[in-house]
């Protein structure tokens, strides 16, 4: 097989940053991934702003659209729009030079559709606020906003994954002995995986919260979900999501120890900063929340150490799924409180005492389905990796 070295010049890392080189056709793929990274970071900022906004509404009942969490949210959107422009320009250039890669095409389209939804939903959200006052968590504009964030995050993640898989696939065909170069690429590859997966996790987490938290009853509309359905959704959805994302990150991270722990720790840190720290009465319970690192660490050890892949996947999924109630502290209190006490509202300063008062009675009821969904999530992660045709690459990388 003959390989044109110029075709693979984009794989070469420049010694210093040269803008002309960066803008040259041979670096089209790098620019595409850069754009995807910006979209992911933008969605991460938006999701963090959204989570902070929920806490702000619970604590301070703001009466204006123009609040700091809203500013953070829409700053993320602005960054994502900038990323979209780079993605689209790079994609058009890439298609004109190389073949039309289906993964890159899908990634570009998803990012475009997602950002378009955000751009359309923003002004509608403002108009809704102006007409009906401050809305609850679930409202038509908010649903469109969140859907746009999910689609954009998904597209950005696909773009990042397809860059990495294209990078290693061609390299492995080009050079036989790659151990040094593959190890070098880990320093770029792993952070990209975190940047790609974390916003997707946060936005999907927000979607489950939107349909399970009782924060949508306002003066004009009551979009609050049925309490029992909400509790069922939370019990099944959160464990599935936690287990899927962490096991997926394990597979993408070349099945190395530490990837799951870092991914889980990042999520816990963001959640703690946006949902716990703003509420002064919850700050003493930070120790409890950070303890959630233990099941994540246990799963990481199990997945990376065990030779029996199937058993380690099942047990890890079980561990991660059954710790969802603690990982979703404190907002999960509202979901189960409504079922047990018929009251959807809990005073912010009584949130921790309500949670710890009910944890003993709620957990035995939810641990079974949660553990099962955790296992399902872990199995699903493997299936998705196979579907994305990344398994052979990961197997080869693991041996390097």
């Amino acid at each position: 097989m003959n390989f044109d070295k110029r075709a693979f010049s984009f794989l070469q890392k420049p010694r210093t940053f040269d803008l002309r080189l960066f803008l040259s056709p041979s670096y089209t793929m790098i620019r595409f991934v850069f754009g995807c990274t910006l979209v992911s970071i933008g969605m991460f900022v938006s999701a963090a702003g959204g989570s902070w906004d929920i806490s702000n509404h619970l604590l301070n009942k703001p009466e204006t659209f123009f609040s700091i969490p809203h500013a953070v949210l829409y700053s993320g959107v602005a960054l994502a729009i900038f990323g979209l422009i780079i993605v689209r320009m790079a994609y058009r250039k890439y298609v004109s030079i190389y073949n039309n890669d289906s993964k890159i095409k899908i990634s570009s389209k998803l990012i475009f559709v997602g950002i378009s939804m955000l751009v359309v939903a923003g002004p509608i959200d403002f108009a809704w606020h102006s007409a009906f006052g401050l809305d609850g968590l679930l409202s038509p504009p908010h649903f469109v906003l969140l859907s746009g964030m999910i689609v954009s995050s998904l597209g950005a993640m696909l773009g990042i994954i397809s860059y990495v898989s294209a990078h290693d696939d061609r390299k492995m065909n080009y050079k036989k002995e790659l151990s040094t170069e593959v190890k070098t690429s880990i320093t770029i590859y792993l952070p990209l995986i975190f940047i790609g997966l974390l916003p997707l996790w946060m936005t999907l987490d927000g979607l489950i919260g939107m349909f399970s938290l009782p924060f949508s009853n306002t003066q004009y509309f009551n979009f609050n979900p049925n309490p029992f359905l909400a509790a069922a959704l939370a019990t099944l959805g959160y464990p599935l999501l936690i287990s899927f994302i962490l096991c997926f990150s394990f597979h993408l991270g070349k099945r190395k120890f530490g990837v799951v722990s870092v991914m889980g720790a990042s999520y816990l840190a963001i959640h703690a900063i946006t949902a716990i720290v703003p509420n002064e009465s919850l700050i003493p319970t930070l120790t409890f929340y950070i303890l959630n690192l233990l099941p994540i660490l246990a799963s990481d050890i199990l997945l990376s150490s065990s030779a029996n892949r199937r058993l380690s996947v099942y047990v890890s999924g079980l561990i991660l799924g059954s710790s969802f109630l603690m990982m979703q502290y404190p907002l999960i209190t509202y979901v189960y409180n409504e079922v047990f006490t018929k009251q959807s509202f809990v005073w912010p300063s009584l949130l921790s005492s309500s949670y710890f008062g009910m944890i003993g009675s709620v957990y035995p009821l939810v641990v079974g389905p949660a553990a099962a969904m955790g296992i399902v999530g872990a199995i699903l992660a493997g299936k998705v990796i196979d579907r994305l045709s990344l398994s052979p690459i990961i197997e080869c990388r693991s041996r390097c």
Partner: protein
């Protein structure tokens, strides 16, 4: 290795955070009553009160200038100790405490570990004044077993993680497969067991006994621009509301107008520095009662205005000024009250007692005389 060391360090640091929840600070607590120009200092001994052992609670009262009160000033005090450490609220009262030198002490045996709120009322006869103050005491378990258990478990977790990594990387070729699997199972089981034990047994016990915030609203500086007005003439009502207790999630001040059927056109808010906009409650609108918020709704008998802040931090004062135009001759009554939420005890509303309104909540009544013609009042002879 870096991940393991970082993780272990983090968990150890955070366990110290837990221990500091129960750590005692014997700094002197100072309460400043700006309205009466009085400072109350509170200390207790021993530094770390223990369950069922005597603790001396010591109070010193100073005037605003920092001088202890004079011997001519007789102070009488009432002390209420409130705790919710066992899940039920319990109170203990000390009555008729007297002092002429501005200091007094009591001995008390704390029956359980947890958080205690000490509420003090100091009556002074020269000048006559009443000061309310709130202090707190945290009582640790006798043996400190809880913090000991947490520290031990955290050390176990760190050791397990370290051993696992050590076996995997340094000595993997010295152990056979079976031993490796055994170590793996033990390490994962230990981590998971520690996690669930802490999450379901230790931390719930720890956090349920944490103090609940106890806000204490107080209305002061109520002033009416005139005690008498002519019909159709306007007068202003100015008042301030302060939270002299812990931060409230939500605190409201309500002005009810039983002489009116609507506030529209008759009551105007001239100035308000509350965080949120005041709301107008119309007659027959559904409102909460008996300090239960929306838990017990009844129909409003007369219109009112509620100004509120969410949250309302400790020692923060908000002001509001109304312009009112009475429409009928006679006594024009305004009923004022302030309620803090969560409403957990009898100090979370103001006034503490007295007249009750239709919501079964205590109110303080203010009134002015509305006459046909204000000039008529001045020229009329006493006979």
């Amino acid at each position: 290795m870096r991940i393991v060391v970082t993780g272990a360090s983090l968990t150890l640091l955070l366990s110290l955070l837990v221990i500091t929840v129960y750590a005692q600070s014997n700094e002197t607590q100072i309460w400043t009553d700006t309205e009466n120009n009085v400072k109350i200092l509170f200390t207790y001994s021993p530094k770390n009160p223990v369950v069922d052992k005597p603790t001396v609670l010591h109070f010193s009262v100073f005037s605003g200038g920092g001088k202890q009160v004079s011997s001519q000033n007789l102070l009488t005090g009432t002390l209420v100790i409130i705790t919710n450490s066992t899940g039920h609220e319990r109170t203990f009262k000390f009555n008729h405490l007297h002092t002429t030198n501005g200091t007094f002490s009591v001995k008390y045996l704390f029956p359980d570990s947890g958080f205690y709120q000490i509420i003090t009322r100091i009556n002074s006869n020269n000048p006559p004044s009443i000061s309310l103050a709130s202090f707190s005491v945290i009582v640790t378990p006798e043996t400190g077993s809880l913090s000991f258990i947490i520290t031990l478990l955290v050390i176990i977790s760190a050791l397990v993680a370290g051993v696992t990594y050590f076996v995997r990387t340094k000595h993997r070729y010295h152990f056979n497969k079976r031993t490796e699997i055994f170590i793996l199972i033990v390490s994962v089981s230990s981590l998971v067991s520690v996690y669930f034990f802490l999450s379901f047994y230790i931390f719930p016990h720890l956090y349920i006994s944490l103090p609940r915030l106890k806000p204490m609203p107080e209305i002061h500086d109520v002033s009416l621009s005139s005690p008498v007005v002519g019909i159709g003439q306007r007068f202003t009502l100015t008042l301030s509301d302060i939270n002299i207790g812990d931060s409230a999630d939500f605190q409201t001040i309500s002005a009810g107008f039983p002489n009116l059927t609507t506030t529209y056109g008759f009551v105007k808010i001239i100035h308000s520095d509350f965080i949120q906009k005041p709301i107008l409650i119309k007659k027959d609108e559904m409102v909460g009662s008996s300090y239960q918020g929306t838990g017990n709704l009844i129909s409003a008998k007369y219109p009112s205005i509620e100004a509120f802040s969410r949250p309302w931090h400790s020692q923060v004062t908000h002001h509001i000024e109304f312009e009112i135009t009475p429409i009928s001759i006679g006594r024009f009554v305004i009923l004022l009250k302030s309620v803090a939420f969560p409403h957990l005890n009898q100090f979370a509303h103001f006034p503490l007692n007295g007249l009750r309104d239709y919501q079964s909540e205590f109110v303080k009544a203010y009134s002015i005389l509305v006459v046909k013609d204000r000039k008529y009042l001045h020229t009329r002879s006493p006979n």
